[in-house]
Symmetry: none
Subunit: 205 residues, 4 copies
Amino acid sequence: MARNSKGTAAVKTVVADKREAILRAGVRVFAAKGFFNSKVADIAREAGIADGTVYLYFKSKDEILHSIFDRAMANFIDEGRRELEPITDPIEKLKTIARLHLERLSADRDLAVVFQIELRGSTKFMQEFSAAGFAEYLDIIKRTIEQGQKAGAFRKDMKPVVCAKILYGALDEMVTNWILSANKYPLPPMADEVLKIYLGGLLVK
Amino acid sequence: MARNSKGTAAVKTVVADKREAILRAGVRVFAAKGFFNSKVADIAREAGIADGTVYLYFKSKDEILHSIFDRAMANFIDEGRRELEPITDPIEKLKTIARLHLERLSADRDLAVVFQIELRGSTKFMQEFSAAGFAEYLDIIKRTIEQGQKAGAFRKDMKPVVCAKILYGALDEMVTNWILSANKYPLPPMADEVLKIYLGGLLVK
Amino acid sequence: MARNSKGTAAVKTVVADKREAILRAGVRVFAAKGFFNSKVADIAREAGIADGTVYLYFKSKDEILHSIFDRAMANFIDEGRRELEPITDPIEKLKTIARLHLERLSADRDLAVVFQIELRGSTKFMQEFSAAGFAEYLDIIKRTIEQGQKAGAFRKDMKPVVCAKILYGALDEMVTNWILSANKYPLPPMADEVLKIYLGGLLVK
Amino acid sequence: MARNSKGTAAVKTVVADKREAILRAGVRVFAAKGFFNSKVADIAREAGIADGTVYLYFKSKDEILHSIFDRAMANFIDEGRRELEPITDPIEKLKTIARLHLERLSADRDLAVVFQIELRGSTKFMQEFSAAGFAEYLDIIKRTIEQGQKAGAFRKDMKPVVCAKILYGALDEMVTNWILSANKYPLPPMADEVLKIYLGGLLVK
DNA sequence: AATGAATGAGCATTCATTCAT
DNA sequence: TATGAATGAATGCTCATTCAT
């Protein structure tokens, strides 16, 4: 029994490790050369395995990109929910979202490149991207805004979903700019800048 | 003489027409199938010319994408400058920018797809994209904000370039969302929404 | 007009020539290495063209094999009909069929190999092979036998289609054996041997 | 001792069983998908063993096909000899051969497919096929015919080996046709038809 | 300028075989 | 013996680009 379960666990670990290694290699390679210019052989080499082994863990090159996104998005959303749960103030929630968004992506530049650049390279991916975890992420922002509107903290003359997109767009642009500027400055502090405008507006009161 | 100049003009026109036809065909084809999945032969067929003819006007498939961007960006900036020139109020200027941004892209969905999706498909393109007209566009927004700050209309505790990125990011996200939502709603009105938040902030005063 | 038609004819000839060259190369290569072991690159090299050029004339490697069969079978049947037409005696007809069968295949050993060996390598090909020209060939034999039965020359207690298969099988075996025996003996004379038995039977009368 | 010999026997039996299982699986898989389209993994799954285990019993995929032929041919010849031994009349012998040929192959359609189609798929196999048991089989027919000639039952103006090939070719064609016709009719009765012609000839006497 | 036939480098994927366990 | 994960060589086909006409 113990032996069995241990064996199974070990196998699972090895399998997970190799899957993991391929995904990590995929992030590095896609970030460096772009999805269409990356060869499966590049990923295999980077992961330290044979070309064919990739296909024991993924059905296709496409599936690797998908899995990268799915895994990262799941992690991101998990962590987001965990950090947001204890917070009740919607303003604080938005601050946390913005900070997390920029912290997470600046912590792994390769992943950020894949998210900001490679995943956008085709309507097909974008559609799926949109349909999948992205919608969930936007929904978290949207509900925080609804909550803020109910609480009387946020203005009520705007649709929450539009507000959510605006915040997301602003943050997203910060990330893209940061990537393209070769990371000359720290990304997370940009969260405060975005929120200054987003919450307070540009106009002098 | 007359014949010459006329001939030259005619030639220039024909040349321009064919270049133009290829670019238009490129926009349609790239938007429909994505840059990497589009064949030069597709573009040639769409433009009604032979495959080889494409290479009399463009050095490579890449160059077609570049030219599409360059031409559209130049048009866009030209028109922008023209419309902004008579306006003095920085608030009105920002409104004009936002409106033009969404109007222009919603007026040509194929071009919008190429701008929002295909041009983002590689760090390489993004770098070039960034280096080129995009910086100029961002600069126009930035200077409008500087002007507004000097005029005392906009708050001064924010860097103009960051403000510019935030506005750009928000507008950009509107366009991307509109594309992916299959254009179920008119895009230009979103300009007002963005500006409501951007100028006035989300918080209740 | 003349120029046009001449141009068209020239183009057709060139095209036909290249198609022809590929088919001839295919016969040689398939005969030498077997269909599954032949690479498209082998055929291209043998035909003196680039790999990609093969695909301007054929959709796939499979299609080359098919075309080899179709072309040869069509030629064979055409020639058969032409030679059989002036003959009225069904016995002479059968003799002509048998002679032609062995003459044609022994005249082009590579083609014979493809017919006897490579085309049999898969039920899929065999089905198609059977459905296509082979049925037509068998039908020619069958009708000759029917004619002989009506004329009172051939016994009537046998189904013509069965008789046709028996003759075909015997001839086919002669060809296969000849191929596998490295052509140590001339094939055509075997036609007489087959017919001696086929027409007269093995038994002493 | 007892234990040893028993153990050895058991081991041998197990070994034989597994070899047998692989061969049976090979026949099924090759018949269904063709030799080149069959994967070793398919055979392993069909045999209920692991992929690698196949290589404990066979050196290669080729060897499986060879062994299928060798085993079946040996069985076939053994049974043939056994059934022919008590028969003295060469006519009866030929009838027995023809009947057995069709009975055995129609009794195992998968095996028949492998014999008629898959084994013919390459000159290489054909050469080996020819060199091996096939020659032995043809020899049995040949000697029966020699015997008949000596006994004065068969005509003497034909070489026995040619007569043997003719009979074999006719029978072989019956089998191939039966396979390709999806077994719509019983095969064994065709033996009589073949012999009617083979022994008596097509001509009215 | 225009053509489009020809080129040939490039690549995702498969699968027979091996080998550590 | 048995396993099945890992290997890596092998290849049909595509398509950007060239060039003879």
